[in-house]
């Protein structure tokens, strides 16, 4: 709820300042939704991990690794597209598996584990692409079916937007309607009682890490197919984007609380702020400052709403 109000306020502010440059047109809407979709596809599983009390920052490396892998296997080695996609998903899933195993088998916090895999995967991507194709960028000409599925536009919106919408529905059922969703909340809220209640905590966490990497791979593949090119540089901003979207969306950093709808609104807020500034006459050198301040306000507002909501529900219980 707080995330939705925050998004509306941010939207109205940018609509007022960006009105004369068509911020309110369909194309303007598509513009920031397109940006948000890549973040959004990754942000929801990242939020799942945060709700379960873990964090995954290796997404910043898995995204370019997936884009490069698909590009190199299809463009350089002439493998069929479907095989490249399967290989890329498998690569991402194995990164997720490594993350999950390391986090559950050792006492190392997931921030550190995924920090290590972030650099390891990033380094491997750069080294392998330079070794395999003597270049750190790759271009990719995709067959029509792949373009239609992953990298074209419908009504001005990139394919990734539709993937995002589809995933929102699936993930909403997963978190809020399925028993597994309850497990995720239970694991983040109180891991010890969750384990005592018979929830396979480690297994669940490993699957969540795999889900996160696989979704990141999907976002990476959508991007390389859409833009016909990939670069191997680690996408550090993606880490911040996904965490910001989750936190603005009301997910607690210490786990146990959050919602799919909240993360979606958080992602949309980020999209509006990030892209909206270019529709205004505000000095662009101030853009990062404005983003920081706006996000802070959004998060503070969230906290207030959360307090109001909990005090309201607890007072209702007392009645």
């Amino acid at each position: 709820m707080g995330a939705f109000v925050g998004m509306v306020i941010v939207f109205v502010i940018f609509a007022m300042f960006g009105f004369s440059r068509n911020f309110l047109s369909i194309a303007g809407f598509a513009n920031w939704m397109n940006f948000a979709s890549t973040v959004g596809i990754i942000a929801i599983p990242v939020a799942f991990l945060m709700i379960a009390g873990e964090l995954d920052i290796s997404t910043g490396a898995v995204l370019p690794a997936s884009a490069m892998m698909l590009g190199i296997s299809v463009n350089h080695y002439d493998l069929p597209m479907w095989l490249g996609i399967i290989m890329t998903f498998s690569m991402a899933a194995s990164v997720g598996l490594v993350n999950g195993l390391l986090v559950t088998r050792t006492q190392v916090p997931s921030f550190i584990v995924t920090l290590a895999t972030l650099f390891a995967v990033g380094g491997l991507t750069l080294a392998l692409s330079d070794f395999l194709i003597n270049n750190t960028n790759v271009s990719l000409q995709s067959p029509d079916w792949a373009k239609a599925l992953f990298g074209t536009r419908y009504f001005g919106f990139r394919s990734a937007v539709y993937w995002w919408i589809g995933l929102i529905v699936v993930f909403w059922f997963f978190l809020h309607k399925s028993p597994w969703g309850n497990w995720v909340f239970a694991v983040g809220g109180d891991p010890e009682s969750a384990r005592n209640a018979g929830i396979p905590v480690n297994k669940l966490k490993i699957w969540l890490f795999i889900l996160c990497s696989v979704c990141t791979a999907l976002a990476g593949m959508c991007q390389v197919i859409q833009f016909n090119s990939a670069q191997s540089a680690t996408f550090f901003n993606m880490i911040f984007f996904t965490i910001i979207a989750s936190v603005v969306g009301g997910v607690l950093l210490n786990g146990g609380f959050g919602s799919v709808a909240g993360v979606v609104f958080g992602t949309m807020t980020l999209g509006i702020v990030q892209q909206g500034i270019n529709y205004t006459d505000i000095d662009r050198n101030l853009s990062l400052l404005i983003i920081g301040v706006m996000l802070l306000i959004a998060v503070l507002m969230n906290g207030t709403f959360q307090k109001l909501a909990t005090s309201w529900s607890s007072s209702k219980k007392e009645d």
């Binding site: 068509n22 047109s25 397109n34 990033g122 990719l140 670069q231 996408f235 270019n278």
Partner: protein, 317 residues
């Protein structure tokens, strides 16, 4: 709701005066000082554009992590904003050309600056304002070799970027032509903009191969990093330093004699000329007959250092 959006969009169209050109300038990271000089040139051109009732909107990426996609998104954004002309850099043609085509299909005139000159014809752009990266590299490589360098290290801060690769290839070919040897150093792209990290990387190379007696950097912050590495090793004067682009510290070093030269591509002209000729083309139908328009290379060394200083102080060099 949809009706509301369409009416407001229609209002927005009529609100922005339709008589003089609204221009968008799409350039690289707002944290890279190079683009500030391009921006300065464009803003100076904007004075004339605004006097005619037009406008200039400068769109920049946050960094270079996702450069091609980010630039394509900015071009789409300018298209959505309903501008009349877009001046853009074109470092990642694969990613950007579809967005440029879409803009042209929407009736927007496009011109190129700074990078992507090789794609002038394919992009259907009006003109290109920038240096030929390879030619500039050759000039730099030759200059370093002729001033006594035998083994030049050319440092690429974002491996794989077309214009950077072309620069170092030019440096290597220029050096070879003048009888010197060149090695290209590709560092991980996450070191981009990281002076301390890059300095350590350069230091490691100089340590590892004592035959290297010159370093050429492709950005001024990287030259700062190299200068620190050379000084750290006590090899000032022994290892020559050259860089693409100008900055206050670069010029200070040239003045002090600790840097041999800098290759200027005159970013001020790139911003000024691309934006002003684009607006004039839309408003009056004029077109520069020369294409591409080369704004560099111009080598700054001890012989012409003083004149260059005034420009740096004004933010125009």
């Amino acid at each position: 709701m949809k009706k509301l959006i369409t009416t407001t969009a229609a209002l927005a169209f009529t609100a922005s005066g339709a008589f003089a050109a609204d221009i968008a300038l799409v350039i690289g990271s707002n944290q890279d000082s190079f683009w500030n000089v391009v921006k300065k040139g464009a803003e100076d051109a904007a004075m004339v554009i605004e006097a005619r009732g037009g406008s200039l909107n400068i769109l920049q990426t946050n960094n270079y992590d996702n450069y091609g996609a980010d630039l394509a998104t900015l071009i789409e954004q300018a298209t959505a904003q309903g501008v009349d002309g877009i001046a853009t850099v074109l470092p990642v043609p694969d990613a950007q050309l579809p967005a440029i085509k879409a803009a042209q299909d929407a009736g927007i005139k496009v011109t190129l600056l700074n990078g992507g000159g090789d794609f002038l014809e394919e992009s259907g752009a009006l003109n290109y304002f920038g240096s030929d990266e390879y030619v500039a590299g050759v000039a730099g490589g030759k200059y370093m070799a002729n001033s006594g360098a035998a083994h030049i290290l050319c440092h690429i801060q974002i491996p794989g970027t077309v214009n950077l690769e072309a620069r170092c290839k030019g440096v290597a070919d220029g050096a070879t032509e003048a009888g010197a040897k060149a090695t290209i150093l590709r560092v991980p792209a996450n070191l981009d903009g990281d002076v301390a990290g890059t300095s350590a990387a350069i230091e490691a190379e100089l340590n590892g191969d004592a035959s290297i007696d010159a370093v050429v950097n492709l950005a001024t912050w990287a030259a700062d990093a190299s200068a620190a590495a050379i000084e750290q090793l006590g090899k000032t004067g022994e290892v020559k330093l050259g860089t693409f682009d100008l900055s206050p510290s670069t010029l200070d070093r040239i003045k002090a004699g600790t840097q041999t030269m800098a290759i200027d591509q005159t970013p001020y002209y790139q911003g000024f000329l691309s934006v002003s000729t684009l607006a004039a083309h839309i408003d009056f139908g004029t077109k520069v007959a020369t294409e591409p328009v080369l704004t560099g290379p111009a080598i700054v060394d001890a012989s012409n250092i003083d004149a260059t200083f005034a420009g740096v102080e004004a933010g125009t060099r």
